[in-house]
Amino acid sequence: MCSIEEPILVKEQAPLSAGKKCIKCKIAKATILIRYSTYCKSCFQHVFVGKFRKNLEKSRVIHSAPDEKAMVALSGGPSSRCLLQLLRDYCEPLPHEISKKSTFNEIKICHVDESVAIFDEQEKEKENSTLCKVESIAKKYNYEFIGLRLEDIFSPEYTSSGLYDNSLLDAVSTLTSKEELLWHFKMCLLMQMARKKGCTRLFMGDCSTRLSIKIISLTSKGRGFSLPLETSGECNLFKAEKHYEFNFLLCQNNKIVNLDSIDVIILRPMKDMLSKEIGIYNQFTGLVDDIVITPTLTSMMSVASSIERLTEDFIVGLEKDYPSTVSTIARTGAKLTPSNLINLEQSCAVCMMPYKEGIKNWQNRITVHMKQPPLAPPSPFTSPSQNSISMDYNNSSCQCASNDTLCYACLVNMRDIKKVVEFPPYVADAILQKIQKATNATIAISPTANRLKYKFFATTNFNNKSLKTDYVGIPDTISNLRPIKYYIPENASPEDTEWRLHRERIDQFNHQFWTSNNELFIVEKQEYENQLKLKTGKKPTSAEISIFYKDFLDKAYDRQMAYNQQWWKENIRMLLPGGKAAIRNFRIWMPKRSRTRISFFEKNASS
């Protein structure tokens, strides 16, 4: 196919501008060439800083955020390093500069150390961890530094890192998928930390070169739908109310905040800077000696090791011969908007991006798989369920189809995972949330279930047949109870059904009580606070709040007592059917047991 469309791109000859004057001051000899413009050293720096500030000010969220907190994602690399410096200079001007009002109440620096995924055990010891190096940079600023490690994604509270064993990433067979997963985990950590710390703005250091690479590579990975969200200068996709982790946190701390107002907006103020500009600026300002070189998965690898790496090579190579490549791609990307085929309310459980539903169906239609008789009429095709996610809950396993919870690109990545591996809890939560929505489960169990651990597995071998065991959902935002969807056996006896219905009724009872109780609590607490605020003009202290707690409990005494009595009665009532069920289960379980015992003896006898 030859080029159908005009205009043909003609190889642009970089002008031989030796001896030219700076186009800005028109006096000094030009020493820097950015695309077709020549600058002297001081004009270049001026223009560069100006570009950053213009970009920052253009974004309306800067103006609308007088007393908000911001977080800077600092990898320690040239671009984010430069971003941190520029942002500081902007927010805290030197005395002789024109004073601007401080833009953010507080700035925090967050770094995610990925070394666990890149080095193996021995190398890790050799001070390959980037955490300390980046922290030493951050120390030069008067900002709070939050150091995270990639393995923290596996621990819901981000405290210890003992859970991580690299088995997930080791199970990924291609670097492309591995890179993708790493990136999603990193984004998730950053987002969650921003929420946890109450930051409403997250600054990313993506420069224009990086963004144009992303535009091409994301397209190749099948992320064209959500691409605009991942590359725009300002992205406010992440609404807090959609995210369980955040809700959970709020509920735990009994802090009820207007959730709509708390969303993290991602800002990319470096989006118009070429990596060349950043490199030169860092060199001139001495930042270059203060950069942490973070090795990536493809460092020192061949060009074709991953899509990302190949794209980088392609774009950077083109840029050399056709200096406007990067800016053209970036401009193209800026004009794109998320497709209206995607549902912005739904987000993929792994990458947190919105996606188009029913993609599996589309895939099946365009690719005929082999699990059907070859000469069957070409109507509804079924393919082997390639991806399902199974959940290990309390040693019993249950499975669910991942088809409707992952986006197309993540499904493609899952194909590269050949073993059963554990996924971080946030993935599990997102999937559970979806199942809960889909099954409309409003049943709940006792609050202690909050602390139960669950694991998620991705596998290519499972069939997503019916559920094998009970589903436990994530805690309800108001009642704080985890809903349960009970497993219905195919040949359930009337007693079994009665037992299940009974439990469902009680769950429902619990849920209703705690929902109304907690709602009352929230409303009354808010009222009390408001009254106090009117009186004193200040936020109530914890001592004052404790008075309210006592009042509330006193008032609720009768209600609570009635509930307790009911709950005890129900518990006693449950003893008999519960005991019966246990005996039934025991009977089902017995024959198997005896069979194994026989075989055991036989084995012994034969040996």
Binding site: S220, K221, G224, F225, G317, L318, K335, L336, M370
Partner: protein, 348 residues
């Protein structure tokens, strides 16, 4: 032990499908491939019964073969025609035009060949002599697009199917991103585009890999022409193509296209009709007319660079310069589809 086909489990597998990595025997491969195209056609409701469809068949015979097979097997009820464009490039299309003619008898489908020489009064060889190698693809591309539409009108069809495959579309997507061509970026992945409201164009091979088409052609002993045009040493596109091949090597699914959406506020050019030839155009004159005017007046840069400025310098087109026939004046060929329009020649 020879590997068996994963479908029938009987025949020896002789194809490893690039799309899925599955190993199939020839017959099962044919079948799967055909069904996928069939699904693409039915899912997107490309045709309705009774449509007259022109198959743009200059590239190879796979499209014609598949269309004919599926039309017969699934009773689409289509009237099929073969439509070929002769760009007038010596040594490039000669062979394929010969086979098109041979296949006309084989498939018993009416054939129409439109040539640049007849339509525009210029063959590509002549154009290249005039404009050099640098911008000739612009001419060829613009002219071919119109030539196909004109051919379709002459055949009295309302639909053209082209052999664009997933690789082609991926390449176009990439080129449009690199070029910043927003309007086309949105349009180029559509499986069916409506030209000027009369002639629809669709791509039944949108989800088929080039490799599989080539394999299909090879096993079925169909002619497949992928000869590189002798005039297309376009290095930029070459880079893009190499990149895509590398991508495919890393992850084959990377080249299956998908849709983009443009921000609402970005203005897209409105489609109008060329005042000279009646072809759809966003300007007063369509690209083909501007290019043709440039050729005829010895100003081949017209339409490539700043058209308006050049026109200001050289003045408007003189009245009697040859242009191509107005769209509405195109004559519909007789039912036999053999008669060739000599209108272009006469004009010249």
């Amino acid at each position: 032990m020879p590997r068996l086909c994963v479908v029938c489990k009987e025949e020896r597998a002789s194809v490893k499908r690039p799309k899925t990595g599955e190993q199939l025997c020839r017959n099962c491969f044919y079948h799967v491939f055909e069904i996928e195209v069939h699904c693409t056609i039915t899912d997107n409701k490309l045709f309705k019964s009774g449509d007259r469809v022109a198959i743009a068949a200059s590239g190879g015979k796979v499209l014609a073969h598949i269309m004919k097979t599926l039309n017969d097997r699934y009773n689409y009820g289509l009237d099929l025609f073969l439509l070929s464009v002769d760009e007038g490039i010596t040594g490039y299309r000669d062979d394929s035009l010969e086979t098109v003619k041979r296949n006309q008898q084989q498939y018993n489908l009416p054939l129409k060949i439109v040539s640049y020489g007849e339509l525009y009064g210029w063959t590509m060889d002549e154009i290249v002599k005039e404009v050099g190698l640098k911008n000739n693809c612009t001419f060829c591309g613009v002219f071919r697009r119109q030539a196909l539409d004109r051919g379709a009108v002459m055949l009295n069809t309302d639909h053209i199917v082209t052999g664009h495959n997933a690789d082609d579309i991926a390449e176009t997507v990439l080129m449009n991103i690199l070029r910043g061509d927003i309007a086309r970026l949105e349009r180029c992945t559509e499986i069916c585009t409506t030209g000027d409201g009369r002639i629809r164009r669709s791509k039944p091979f949108k989800y088929a890999y080039e490799k599989e088409i080539v394999m299909y052609a090879y096993f079925k002993k169909l002619d497949y022409f992928s000869t590189e045009c002798v005039y297309s040493p376009n290095s930029y596109r070459g880079h893009a193509r190499t990149f895509l091949k590398d991508l495919e090597a890393i992850r084959p699914s990377a080249i299956i296209g998908e849709a983009f959406q443009i921000k609402q506020e970005v203005k897209l050019p409105t489609q109008g009709v060329c005042s000279r030839c009646g072809y759809m155009s966003s300007n007063e004159l369509c690209k083909a007319c501007v290019l043709l005017e440039g050729l005829n007046r010895g100003l081949p840069r017209l339409g490539i660079g700043k058209t308006n400025r050049l026109r200001k310098i050289h003045g408007e087109m003189p009245e009697n310069t040859a242009t191509m026939l107005h769209f509405s004046q195109l004559q519909i060929d007789g039912e036999n589809g053999k008669s060739e329009s000599d209108e272009g020649k006469k004009r010249r």
